[in-house]
Symmetry: C2
Subunit: 347 residues, 2 copies
DNA sequence: TTGAAAGCGCTAACAC
DNA sequence: GTGTTAGCGCTTTCAA
């Protein structure tokens, strides 16, 4: 029924192995037979069977993508399509395919990964997140299975290949920016503290404050869901504080918008009453009113580099070290100086 | 090295075929041996090899996802993550996996699909779009390869399984809504006319106008990219018309926002000067100012049902007919009546 | 209820 | 340069 390598071999009067060699363009085969065999493949409409090849080579050229459980990783966020585009492009350039994890809960996803890996479905795995003591990461590490983490790992940072921004620095810069504008009561809003990204940004925020001699206040640090709703919740909590902050560092644009909208309803204006800087830069500026000053973390590049790194690992066997994707601060209109004089900024 | 079915068989003093039957829970195997074999599998840490099984069964339990070339299918749109979530959930429930197409151009994607299909990598395919005389759809149809189209097909509608909204009706209702508000100069903005979805919405729009005795104007129909930028471009063109419309039907929320923002810059306010209804309802209402009145097309359900349909097809062999996912109009604040009296609406 | 053996379609020693 | 042959790990007749 389906045309196999044998059919081609027969018609070309060669051995199946010769056809196989033609497929992989083995230099030991003469040009003459290559041409002849290729013509016959064309004639017969032959297409190599991936599964058979994968079984024989013990390699599928498929990369498994592991998304965090959907409760954490909001599909309502543009981060996801952006990183996927980067991953796609990196994979496509090297003729790799992407297999998605589909599980909702952490347990479901873990089971899937085990199946993918032990079942030989994927040659490598990309984790689209990084969190403290992650079950799946540990599993992959224990088996020495090739994987790359998008986000700096919490443990074993020396031996795990990862792709990330310098979130500490980025957060420090964002906070410094607010400090330079004269703010001292600065809040920090992010999602789950178990994500390394969140920890790093919190640390950068704290460093900047300490350096400026500002005393940290526990009340000013909030953790909510990574979404518009999370931002709204945070805003409400903020206003219940005795001395609310005059500025905020928010870990995502969508969250920041939630904050802005919620505060607005309660009569607090941005940037007149409160200044906000955020992360990700996934929104076109017109989408938010005011346009958010935000750290562009180059999400596409994060995905692209992750694909490149895992492929390099698979092909050369060596483990590329951590890649740091540059970020840059984009100044728009969500912050206001509360100093008397206008100051020159270095960002 | 890796534990195979043979290792298990040996330890359990049974034939490999018996182990295979235990894996697939064949009723002919006695409970006693099943338990024994399962214990040994556990002990040895055995996991079935997917590739080998796929080769023997000529089925992978993988569904290929075909995205339209990225130029058309903006990754900058929340449509994508939403539909993927639906697809994931539908696939997961039946233990199917999803393989993504990664190509950028139509040719790249076509090549990928051929590889997936002829290479035996996927059991079925889901097209995440539907357009006129699509190369890939024709290929799949010619080979009688199982696939489902998200979006009503243009040709062979009787024989192709698809999942879609009733876009004609939805668009008709949206347009009627504007007509009832007293508008007569109503424009229509959508993306590529080669998408069936666009054609349907255009048709619904035209029907509503005709029924109301309003003469169609070519100038009022614009086709731009499916994104915020596309909306901005459309807005500019609209204002160059001698008699600009007082209301618009826009095929996507993000495009609609582009229109709103661009018009605002030019001094045209929504809804005071122009009324807008859009499609998709992917934005939380606060995100746009004003909140857009929009048709919620239940993107998640579209994906979920598509997964269910292709799986049904694969498992039972029969071809489920087209599934229509219900839509509903969500009234917010982007439209204004231009009649003297306020009228009662039926939506 | 179980086993033996022949494949699924391809690759990769090892020969010649 | 090319052919022979033995797998890759599993399923599935056919026999017993």
């Amino acid at each position: 029924m389906t045309i196999t390598i044998k059919d081609v071999a027969q018609r070309a009067n060669v051995a199946p192995s010769t056809v196989s060699r033609v497929i992989s363009n083995d230099p030991r085969i003469s040009e003459k037979t290559k041409v002849r065999v290729r013509n016959i493949m064309q004639m017969l409409g032959y297409h190599p069977n991936f599964i058979a090849r994968s079984l024989a080579k013990r390699s599928t050229r498929i990369i498994g993508l592991v998304l965090p459980s959907s409760s954490n990783f909001s599909y309502q966020n543009l981060f996801f399509p952006a990183i996927l585009q980067g991953l796609s492009e990196g994979a496509q350039e090297n003729h790799y395919s992407l297999l998605l994890s589909t599980g909702k809960t952490e347990d479901e996803i873990y089971e899937e990964v085990v199946k993918m890996v032990q079942g030989g479905m994927v040659d490598g795995v990309i984790l689209l997140y990084s969190r403290i003591s992650d079950h799946i990461l540990n599993y992959l590490r224990d088996r020495a299975f090739p994987f790359v983490s998008i986000g700096k790992p919490y443990d074993f940072i020396e031996e795990i290949t990862y792709v990330d921004n310098d979130n500490i620095l980025a957060s420090e810069q964002a906070t410094d920016y607010l400090i330079q504008l004269g703010h001292e009561k600065i809040g920090f809003i992010a999602d789950d503290i178990n994500f390394v990204k969140t920890l790093d940004r919190l640390f950068g925020y704290e460093c900047a404050l300490k350096r400026a001699g500002i005393v940290l206040s526990k009340e000013y640090t909030l953790h909510e869901e990574f979404s518009h709703e999370g931002g709204q919740a945070a805003a409400k909590k903020l206003l219940s504080i005795a001395e609310p902050p005059t500025a905020l560092v928010v870990s995502d644009d969508f969250m920041a918008l939630g904050v802005v909208h919620s505060l607005r309803e309660m009569g607090v204006r941005t940037p007149e009453d409160i200044s906000i800087v955020s992360f990700n830069q996934v929104l076109f500026p017109e989408l938010s009113l005011p346009a958010l000053s935000s750290v562009d973390i180059n999400i596409f590049d994060l995905g692209y580099q992750a694909a490149k790194s895992i492929i390099q690992k698979l092909q050369t066997g060596d483990a590329p070290a951590g890649s740091i994707i540059p970020h840059h601060f984009v100044e728009r209109h969500s912050c206001k100086s509360i100093k008397q004089a206008v100051i020159a900024l270095t960002y």
